[in-house]
């Protein structure tokens, strides 16, 4: 039993149509509920809900304050490798892109850390392309152990792994894993992911099951916004979240909503245009559906937008991100995507304080993962 079985009970087109059929009355009903269900969530995602964006934002902000208070987690991505065997048509790291490839060795990682540690970061998100020969489980384990002394929370955004690999990395005090499905539209998935391990839709879809089974403490879900209808994607993401919460109740969950941006190489334009108003509706809808899920926003979005949406439901921000291996210590030519918020971490922290938020750099203690023998 995995999520795939549950997933196959639903038809993309039917779900999409039912979202688009939702009426203002159904949106109001959803807004009046303390515990909106997946049908209510359709209403909150629907075009009809656009007219209710302000009340949605107010409810979302209030729920977020009650659950998370006036704090904001800050983290930084560290790109370890841009080697990739996949050929995802939207990605700067695609194996077919003629860019220089690099995997950081220990010395190069420590050079990155020296720069990073000039900022107060204690949570690092380690990122690689998918190239197990270059950056596989053994490499990741080695990097986790190397970075442990300097950081309190280490997370991964790398290729999907097997349960045993996750168990092994959890023992190296891996805290969270983010694996985005990119799209839940199974029929369209192959055209975006034509080659490599990532072409296997089902293996990717079942990754959170393997993470839950391995006892990983936090699991991140998300889709790439700009491929297929974002409302339908969000509904399937929520379906996935609900399934995981019931099954792997000891894990925490995080949602991300990366929007496609220009990248080096032949140009892939987003298939579906999603504006900032849509993205805001998505954020608020997620919060109203799930008061406890973490919502993370990256530097793909521009400063004014990030500042505006901070109080509405977001609980984690990256800041000062560089998106290529070696980029913090000066190598800027290998980036996966261009960031739109180039402010330094300190500037972002200052913005948060001005808005009455305490920037939280440390929110995990590795010793809490350490069992003792009774």
């Amino acid at each position: 039993m995995s999520f795939y079985k549950e997933f196959r009970r639903y038809n993309w087109e039917e779900v999409r149509r039912s979202i688009y059929r939702k009426t203002p009355a159904e949106v109001e009903r959803a807004l009046g509920k303390d515990w909106p269900d997946l049908e209510d969530f359709k209403a909150l995602l629907s075009p009809a809900a656009d007219a209710f964006l302000e009340p949605m934002a107010q409810q979302s902000a209030a729920l977020t304050r009650r659950r998370f208070g006036r704090t904001m987690q800050l983290y930084l991505p560290l790109y370890l490798s841009n080697f990739c065997e996949n050929r995802c048509v939207y990605c700067g790291f695609s194996g077919s892109n003629p860019i220089r490839r690099k995997v950081l060795n220990e010395e190069e990682i420590l050079a990155e850390v020296r720069t990073i540690k000039q900022e107060p970061f204690r949570h690092l998100l380690l990122v690689t392309g998918e190239a197990p020969q270059k950056a596989g489980t053994a490499y990741l384990e080695q990097v986790l152990r190397l970075l442990q002394p300097a950081f309190s929370q280490l997370s991964l955004e790398v290729q999907p792994l097997d349960t045993d690999d996750y168990t092994r990395l959890a023992e190296a005090r891996l805290h969270a894993v983010y694996v985005y499905q990119e799209t839940y539209k199974e029929a369209a998935y192959p055209q975006y992911h034509p080659f490599g391990r990532k072409a296997n839709f089902r293996y990717r879809l079942e990754t959170p099951d393997r993470l839950g089974a391995a006892g990983i403490r936090k699991v991140g879900l998300g889709t790439l916004i700009g491929l297929e209808d974002w409302r339908t994607e969000a509904w399937f993401t929520a379906l996935h979240l609900q399934y995981l919460r019931r099954r792997y109740w000891q894990s925490r969950y995080s949602l991300s909503f990366p929007r496609l941006r220009p990248f080096a190489g032949e140009g892939f334009q987003p298939r579906v245009l999603t504006n900032e108003r849509d993205l805001t509706q998505l954020i608020c809808a997620y919060r109203l559906f799930d008061a406890d899920v973490e919502l993370s926003l990256s530097t793909r979005e521009r400063p004014a937008y990030r500042d505006g949406v901070v109080p509405l439901g977001i609980t984690a921000l990256s800041a000062g991100s560089k998106t290529g291996p070696g980029a913090y210590s000066g190598n800027h030519e290998l980036e996966q995507f261009a960031v739109n918020d180039a402010r330094s971490p300190r500037e972002v922290a200052e913005m948060l304080r001005r808005q009455g938020f305490e920037p939280v750099w440390k929110d995990w203690e590795p010793c809490l993962q350490q069992a003792t023998t009774l």
Partner: protein
């Protein structure tokens, strides 16, 4: 007002506070000061344990309140025990608030693991304050295991739901030989006062203060409510009557006047 004594340490204030969710560490310290609280809990995961500069700890230090580290984030007794031992070394206190909630969403405490960890830590000389369900039998078991106090929940953490467990709290208070601190769910000063009127020895409040529009003012409101509730309890509340009757139709036969 009677002083509260926990593990030989006496407290003037019966309001314990948390340190999460504030808009700044400075505001947190000011709110703690306004609340008069002398025992504040802080999540181990939020502070530096290796001695490096930590603004959160520094600000708590300015309040003069006793530090009560908590184990929020652990899922088993084994993890909690390891964390408690580390906290004792790092923070120089043997006081520990046990929070073992494997449930990642509602942060509900695991009774079996909490009891197990309490037994071990109490034996090792820790002052153990376990956060647990409002389960009267469990509270007695924890007391026997050496807990310095019990901290039953009023409602889920952060819910501001009030004393949803009222009937069970009443039994726990009636039966307990250690202080009873109502923890979690108290969302308004009136609810804190209600817990104190029932005879709770103290309450722990965090979200209701931190997430208030004006946290300092709310901290003061809770201070006054806790004092009022305690004074009312000590003063002996007059019994509530639904309507007294001058005639005694059922007992009139006893006294032929």
């Amino acid at each position: 007002m009677e002083k509260l004594t926990v593990a030989g340490t006496s407290f003037e204030s019966r309001l314990f506070t948390g340190t999460g969710k504030f808009s700044s560490n400075l505001q947190m310290a000011e709110a703690i000061a306004a609340s008069g609280s002398q025992l504040v809990t802080v999540a181990l995961k939020r502070v530096e344990l290796d001695g490096r500069q930590d603004d959160l700890l520094a600000q708590i230090g300015t309040t003069g309140a006793r530090l009560l580290p908590n184990t929020s984030g652990v899922r088993t007794a084994e993890e909690a025990i390891f964390a408690a031992r580390l906290a004792r070394e790092a923070l120089q206190t043997s006081w520990i608030k046990l929070e073992i909630h494997p449930d990642a969403r509602y942060l509900l405490p695991d009774a079996a693991e909490t009891l197990k960890a309490t037994e071990v830590l109490a034996r090792e000389g820790f002052v153990v304050l376990p956060y647990i369900h409002a389960d009267p039998v469990l509270c007695k078991r924890l007391e026997e295991a050496g807990a310095a106090a019990v901290m039953p929940l009023g409602a889920p953490i952060g819910s501001n739901g009030g004393l949803q467990t009222r009937d069970f709290l009443r039994i726990i208070i009636e039966q307990s030989n250690v202080p009873v601190v109502v923890d979690a769910g108290i969302g308004a000063p009136s609810q804190a006062a209600e817990a104190m009127e029932m005879g709770a020895d103290a309450v722990l409040v965090n979200t209701a203060i931190a997430a208030a529009a004006r946290p300092l003012q709310m901290a003061l409101a809770f201070k006054l409510a806790v004092e009022a509730g305690r004074l009312a309890y000590e003063g002996g509340l007059a019994p509530r009557h639904s309507g007294a009757s001058a005639t005694s139709p059922l007992t009139a036969f006893l006294s032929p006047v």
